[in-house]
């Protein structure tokens, strides 16, 4: 593309001074048209590429997220179900309303924890893996004739996997450092453990509740994994 190189070497004169220099003017115009056309092609290619890439990985991402969401949240569901069972037991045995309101408070607390954890799970994965197109466009030298680097290779796929693993690591790291101090149930509580302190508190309260009801603590066995 020697004529392109030649065209880009032409130093276009200042606009004021080129009124009578038609040749230089024309080649400058051509050069600009060429650049703008090629930039458009790059952008079109980029959009097409994004659509294609997304279509390939959307389902994969969905399946990953689904599994993670289900596995994390099922524990909170179990806690809610347990508390609901205790609540219904209280209602049936006409127990004091103090216990009933305590259980309701705990249920609210679990719901809040669940929402918090879910929001956190979803927000961690929304930080994009940034490729700045504009920088790439500027860097793209339009008189560049050397072959483009071989970009698609296995190293890239590995990087995706690493990034996902990093997301997962960050996610569990963030979860273990969850600061629940904004939750109402935690305001009066000290953080005994760094991991999810309000959940610990809820579990302890549930255990003491069970004792108060005169029921065996064994009924909470299934919550051991929390």
């Amino acid at each position: 593309m020697s004529w392109v190189q030649a065209a880009s070497l032409v130093q276009g004169p200042e606009e004021d001074g080129d009124v009578f220099d038609e040749e230089a003017d024309e080649s400058l115009l051509v050069q600009r048209e060429w650049q703008s056309h090629m930039q458009r092609r790059v952008k079109e290619g980029y959009r097409d590429g994004i659509d294609a890439g997304k279509a390939v990985t959307l389902q994969q991402g969905f399946n990953q997220g689904y599994k993670e969401g289900a596995e994390v949240i099922i524990n909170y569901g179990q806690l809610r179900g347990t508390l609901s069972a205790l609540l219904s037991w209280c209602h049936l045995h006409d127990d004091s309303s103090a216990l009933v309101s305590k259980i309701n408070n705990l249920l609210d607390a679990v719901g809040q924890c669940e929402d918090y954890v879910l929001r956190h799970l979803r927000s961690v994965t929304s930080q994009p893996h940034v490729v700045d197109l504009l920088d790439s466009l500027q860097d793209m030298d339009l008189s560049h004739v050397a072959p483009a680097e071989e970009k698609i290779d296995e190293a890239k796929d590995e990087r995706f996997c690493e990034n996902n693993a990093e997301f997962n690591k960050n996610c569990s790291k963030n979860l273990s450092q969850v600061d629940c101090s904004s939750l109402e149930c935690c305001r009066a509580q000290e953080h005994e453990r760094p991991e999810n302190p309000s959940l610990t508190w809820i579990l302890e309260q549930t255990a003491s509740l069970v004792k108060q009801l005169g029921v065996s603590i064994d009924i909470l066995q299934h919550l051991k994994q929390l």
Binding site: G61, Q64, G69, I74, A85, W89
Partner: protein, 137 residues
């Protein structure tokens, strides 16, 4: 003439090359975006199912403990339904969105849970999360 042909080839090649370079960049970005977007949606749906199933499971386990040692005929019917529910839940692959009988099994589990509640004479008062677990009686 040969020179002109070369020039046209060069133009077409440049056109495809620039489109191609954009495409490669976009594909990489799109793949990454697809995973992220997919995960966001997947997490929400998985959490909904996990929350609901977990709730039934916790409820059932707790009641199994509460009914422990009860021997009336009505109690043994309750236990039967309880164990059936627990069994159904344990067989259910709650973390697999591609499970072909997902909705079918979920409906059966919900039905069994309602049956259990009526046997226990219980109005479940589940605090549904903001996302909603589909429980409404």
């Amino acid at each position: 003439m040969a020179g002109d042909q070369d020039m046209f080839d060069a133009v077409v090649m440049a056109d495809e090359r620039f489109h191609g370079e954009g495409y490669l960049e976009g594909y990489e970005e799109g793949s990454s975006l697809g995973i992220i977007e997919g995960r966001r949606h997947g997490t929400l749906h998985g959490a909904k199912v996990g929350s609901e199933i977990g709730c039934y499971q916790g409820f059932a386990f707790a009641w199994r403990g509460l009914l422990h040692g009860c021997t009336t005929e009505r109690d043994s019917k309750k236990m039967k339904v309880l164990e059936a529910l627990i069994g159904m839940i344990q067989k259910f692959p709650y973390d697999d969105p591609t499970y072909d009988k997902l909705h079918e099994d979920l409906d059966r589990i919900r039905g069994k849970f309602k049956q259990l509640c009526s046997l226990l004479n219980v109005q479940p008062d589940f605090k549904i999360s903001a996302e909603g677990s589909g429980l409404s009686f």
